[in-house]
């Protein structure tokens, strides 16, 4: 299945986080039911901490200044062809914010409109595009219905929702989502961006005061979500549930797993449904995407980290194209052991998404 690219002969590459966006709001609004068309596309506001040069790469705009990520042909040229990407997993990262919108009716409609847009505009544009169906986790019953509506569509490979929540993701309120995803055989991915917006909770220590502080803290939220998925029993309740932590960093993974395992030895009676080391559930059924890759002072340190987190099982390459902090598939990693490289750039994702 791996295509041979002229750029990287023999290089098989799945990019697990690529951002498409609507060219204009009407691509989504026109797909809404009549009443909601009158409301336009108003997403929950941010914490007021702008990125100094904008989140989306200036050099990824279209020829007439179209937003980065809004034109399939630009993405084909600048990412897929340029790097020999065999498959790009598309995640629309702006509309994810409907998952913290206080109006769940609106959020549900936006998710549906997104999924139709994705299937009508993007997936037919290139067989290398794989889709993430958007759901609104604030309304788990509606989200489950949406999963059942969209599941089975060609090249829809996962469910995606915001990593920012009111209640951590392991909670039972989300179980209709996990049940439907398991039934559809699809992994559930979470992606950052809505932290501190809408009804989402703030970071534990309080409000960040700059984009740098906000962005750095995103990994804290991912840690809390993974801990919750394990401790509240979601991973136990759904033995088929597979989870993808997208763009949440990964340097924390060894720390969290070691800490969870250590705590579990003494505190397992508080979570008796975890019947083995928490890390075992993660190694089997949770995957992390690589971008933004950790950049320690020496590449040896990164290699050690990859060994510690068993990256050959748990890590999947992602570029985050076309955002400001995107990683080049050619430069993100130091020279890796061959097998690990193949696992990170291809096999882990190919197995997860059953490609």
């Amino acid at each position: 299945m791996a295509g041979e690219s002229e750029v990287n002969p023999g290089w098989s590459l799945i990019d697990c986080d690529v951002h498409c966006v609507p060219l204009h709001a009407d691509e989504i609004v026109s797909r809404l039911p009549a009443y909601f068309r009158t409301q336009g596309l108003v997403l929950p506001g941010g914490p007021g901490l702008p990125h100094p040069t904008g989140v989306r790469r200036v050099d990824a705009r279209g020829p007439r200044g179209e937003p980065a990520g809004s034109l399939p042909e630009k993405m084909q040229e600048q990412l897929l062809d340029a790097y020999g990407v065999d498959f790009a997993v598309l995640i629309e990262a702006k509309l994810l914010t409907v998952g913290v919108h206080p109006d769940t009716h609106f959020g549900n409609e936006i998710a549906r409109a997104h999924n139709d847009w994705l299937r009508e505009k993007w997936l037919p544009a290139d067989p290398r595009f794989l889709g993430s169906m958007l759901i609104n986790p604030l309304d788990p019953v509606a989200a489950a219905a949406e999963i059942r509506r969209v599941a089975g569509s060609e090249r829809i490979v996962q469910v995606v929702m915001t990593s920012a929540t009111r209640i951590p993701l392991g909670d039972r309120i989300y179980w209709p989502i996990y049940e439907a995803a398991c039934e559809a055989g699809l992994p559930v991915a979470v992606h950052p961006g809505a932290e501190g917006k809408g009804v989402a909770g703030q970071f534990t220590a309080g409000f960040p005061a700059s984009y740098l502080e906000w962005h750095t803290n995103l990994s804290q939220n991912f840690m809390a979500q993974l801990t919750s998925l394990l401790c509240r029993g979601a991973m136990s309740q759904f033995p088929e549930l597979r989870f993808v932590m997208v763009e949440g960093g990964f340097g924390w993974v060894p720390h969290l797993l070691w800490r969870l395992d250590k705590n579990w030895k003494g505190l397992r009676s508080t979570v008796p449904w975890l019947d083995r080391l928490p890390s075992e559930y993660v190694l089997e059924r949770v995957r992390f995407t690589s971008q933004p890759v950790e950049e320690p002072p020496s590449s040896d340190q990164l290699l050690e980290l990859l060994h510690m987190m068993q990256a050959e099982r748990t890590l999947m390459f992602s570029s985050d194209y076309p955002h400001w902090d995107n990683d080049s598939p050619l430069r993100a990693f130091p020279r890796l052991p061959e097998e690990m490289k193949e696992r990170i750039f291809w096999k882990n994702a190919a197995e997860l998404y059953r490609l």
Partner: protein, 129 residues
């Protein structure tokens, strides 16, 4: 193999069900002797994890593995929890709850020596090490 020796712990009346005594074995070892539901058990007073005095921990029960949201409390009085990190040990076997195959504490044979059945039916609790 060295011949076992007998340590006299206390008169049985001083170790009723639910109680324990910690004794000095005289060779550097400290041993906890527990009466669980009328039977005696002896464990090394040393947690294999971090060296805590395990036998000073609370005696309690445990939640057995269960479905999410269920708490199946069982084995009340048979589980010893280390005072440091809370590791659970089965007093009856010395085995840990979380990894019974690999993580355990040494156990010793116990008994009751009766010197004069007519006078003192309870006798003396002993540990053989």
């Amino acid at each position: 193999m060295k011949e076992k020796r007998t340590i006299h712990v206390c008169p049985a009346a001083e170790l009723p069900p639910g109680s324990r005594k910690i004794i000095d074995a005289g060779d550097g070892r400290s041993i906890g002797v527990f009466n669980v539901h009328g039977n005696y058990y002896a464990l090394r007073n040393l947690c294999p994890h971090a060296g805590a005095e395990l036998c000073q921990g609370i005696v309690t029960g445990m939640n057995e593995p269960s479905a999410v949201g269920e708490f199946r409390w069982t084995r009340e009085g048979e589980i010893l929890r280390c005072p440091w990190h809370g590791w659970e040990f089965d007093i009856l076997t010395g085995r840990s709850v979380f990894c019974p195959e690999k993580v355990r504490v040494a156990t010793y044979e116990t008994g009751v020596e009766t010197f004069d059945a007519g006078v003192d039916e309870a006798g003396m609790v002993i540990v053989r090490i």
